[in-house]
């Protein structure tokens, strides 16, 4: 018995050490990014792995106020505006569509819509951008917010999560409302919508996080940096705007830190939502 507990404890210790290492591996790049944004390039060269900056050198944050001739606040505004608008549209449109498809999958035409959506889901998302570029070109929406937002509001994962939720509503609830004399519109507005509020919030959050990350569609549909979001501006710094390392880290931090904070405050909802969409999708 005694040897067993000693062994148990050493196994536990091993697990602790191992997981501490793993946690470090996953957090360190973020920490390194933030610290580096406050350190000059020379200091970095001398001592790349310092855990705290020797002094808070905020030069980079000043330098990136204008990037590629565009003000940082415009990139930020674009990020917030495009992300919020696309996510709102995505949640609204997808929720209505998923509800209709869940309730009446057999109506004439509905199978086709579902089939089309399925195909869209399977088309490699990154490469879909290529034909979408052609479509947006034909629609005359190249270089507009509308073109970008429209494409970003097609979000398959939200559909999976919403359908999953609708399926979990007991069908007697809807039938009961029918027997109470409610029309389909009343059922949707007075029964389904109120009980969907939590899932709509979750889905909005996840949509927000995912759209905030987007860069390729925006890069392709935008025609000038005026329409760039933070991640796209960051990428153009990676390639075109030279290799000011400290400034790159500063912009990366600006792009990332708000998301980390948002995620930490909403982690239960976000992780739960991702899992629900994936496990049962």
């Amino acid at each position: 018995m005694k040897t067993r507990s000693v062994k148990d404890r050493s196994v536990a210790l091993l697990a602790w050490v191992f997981m501490a290492g793993v946690t470090f591996l996953f957090l360190y790049p973020f920490w390194w990014m933030i610290v580096s944004s406050f350190r000059s390039q020379e200091a970095m060269l001398l001592e790349p792995t310092r855990l705290l900056p020797e002094s808070f050198n905020t030069r980079a944050y000043g330098d990136i106020q204008t990037l590629g001739g565009v003000k940082l606040w415009l990139y930020t505004f674009n990020s917030v505006f495009i992300t919020v608008a696309a996510t709102l549209i995505a949640v609204g449109v997808t929720a209505l569509g998923a509800y209709a498809l869940y309730r009446k999958p057999d109506l004439p035409g509905f199978r086709f819509i579902q089939f089309g959506f399925l195909m869209t889901m399977m088309y490699p998302a990154m490469l879909l951008v290529i034909p979408v570029y052609l479509v947006v070109f034909q629609l005359g929406l190249l270089g507009t917010y509308a073109g970008i937002i429209l494409f970003l509001s097609l979000m398959p994962i939200l559909f999976l999560m919403l359908v999953q939720f609708f399926r979990s509503i007991p069908k007697e609830l809807i039938e009961s409302a029918k027997m109470d004399g409610a029309s389909e519109m009343q059922i949707f507005r007075k029964i389904v919508l109120p009980i969907s509020k939590p899932i709509l919030a979750t889905v909005f959050l996840i949509g927000f996080l995912l759209n905030w990350k987007q860069w390729l569609p925006i890069l392709v549909i935008a025609t000038s940096p005026d329409q760039y979001t933070l991640p796209v501006a960051l990428l153009s710094m990676n390639t075109e705007l030279g290799i000011d390392f400290q400034a790159t880290m500063a912009l990366a931090a600006i792009t990332t830190v708000p998301i980390i904070v948002l995620f930490l405050f909403t982690q239960r909802r976000v992780i739960g939502g991702f899992v629900a969409g994936a496990v049962k999708g």
């Binding site: 697990a15 997981m19 996953f26 088309y123 034909p131 389909e184 990428l235 976000v270 496990v279």
Partner: protein, 315 residues
């Protein structure tokens, strides 16, 4: 068994033929559902079906005329061209190799991490570690990939500094072909493994605890319990994670654009990146021929998986 984990792509059910019964009155009676679905249908058509169809059409046309009102159809010429292009063929094999490697690596490590995270000895540390693992899934890849790119830089990257501190030789990172390939395997793993871990973790929490208790009563040791009790029960989760991972890694793209641009010496020239670089050269025909090939691979896989699951359901 958790049947809900066993059917990953139920929407393939949409492939079944529709039943068109007494359509007219049916449509009128259900007009509310047509109204509800209208925006969704419009969005799917404009941003999904139309681009896909257009993409397939363009893959049959001459790139120079693709955007003109009357494109020249060259039919399978673009496909013939890409399949006689050594760079395309090598990118295809490279993508498949990368996918296989990454799927195995991600699924096994995610499973191991989930098992460790679910063990009681970690107590409060487990949720923190879980959060750390999941963080890369939600943070912008543009930022994290750039950070990793610099982390691997020879001069002031943290990776080599650590290696030096431990007295190990430098790692070439993205500057040498083979190393660049494995750098991407690692960074993609860092980016995605948290997702698969959380899925396993959720499934572990859903497991039937009585089985484990019974095994404990029988005096089974931890490793025996893991092998004989937990892993068999996790089989559906392993299957679903593997499928997600296959689809995920087949499409690997962002990390290439951001960290290596396909180099050095095409060592990280993956299929979707190659297609995209064709697109950037305005070679729409070949770019979309490649996209269509990748699309066909994904659909083929999905159909196989769907068939397999249907069979498994009847067992």
């Amino acid at each position: 068994m958790q049947t809900d984990t066993a059917v990953p792509i139920p929407f393939l059910a949409a492939l079944r033929p529709a039943r068109w019964r007494h359509a007219g009155s049916n449509i009128w009676r259900n007009r509310i559902f047509y109204i509800l679905i209208a925006p969704f249908a419009a969005l799917t058509l404009v941003m999904g079906v139309w681009p896909i169809v257009l993409g397939i059409i363009v893959s049959f046309t001459d790139s120079y005329t693709a955007l003109t009102p009357e494109p020249t159809y060259v039919w399978f010429q673009n496909y013939i061209d890409i399949f006689s292009d050594d760079l395309f063929l090598s990118s295809l094999w490279r993508t498949l190799l990368f996918t296989v490697l990454s799927v195995v690596l991600n699924v096994t490590t995610a499973l191991a991490l989930a098992l460790i995270l679910s063990s009681r000895s970690l107590k409060l540390a487990a949720p923190i570690c879980g959060l750390a693992l999941f963080l890369p899934v939600v943070t912008p890849e543009a930022a994290t990939f750039i950070v990793w790119k610099w982390m691997f830089s020879i001069d002031f990257g943290a990776v080599n500094a650590f290696l030096e501190d431990m007295g190990l030789p430098d790692f070439a990172g993205t500057t040498k072909p083979l190393q660049a390939f494995f750098t991407l395997v690692f960074v993609e793993w860092w980016h995605h493994v948290g997702f698969y871990t959380i899925i396993f973790l959720t499934n572990l929490k859903l497991l039937d605890p009585t089985l484990d208790e019974a095994a404990r009563m029988d005096g089974a040791r931890t490793m025996q319990r893991v092998w004989n009790v937990w892993i068999p029960q996790l089989r559906p989760a392993i299957a679903i994670n593997s499928i997600y991972a296959v689809i995920q890694f087949l499409k690997t793209f962002a990390v290439v654009v951001i960290m290596t641009n396909g180099g050095p010496n095409y060592a990280t020239n993956f299929l979707s990146f190659y297609a995209y670089s064709k697109f950037n050269l305005a070679d729409y025909g070949q770019a979309l021929a490649m996209a269509t090939v990748l699309f066909a691979i994904v659909i083929g896989l999905a159909v196989v998986v769907y068939r397999y699951n249907e069979k498994a359901d009847y067992r």
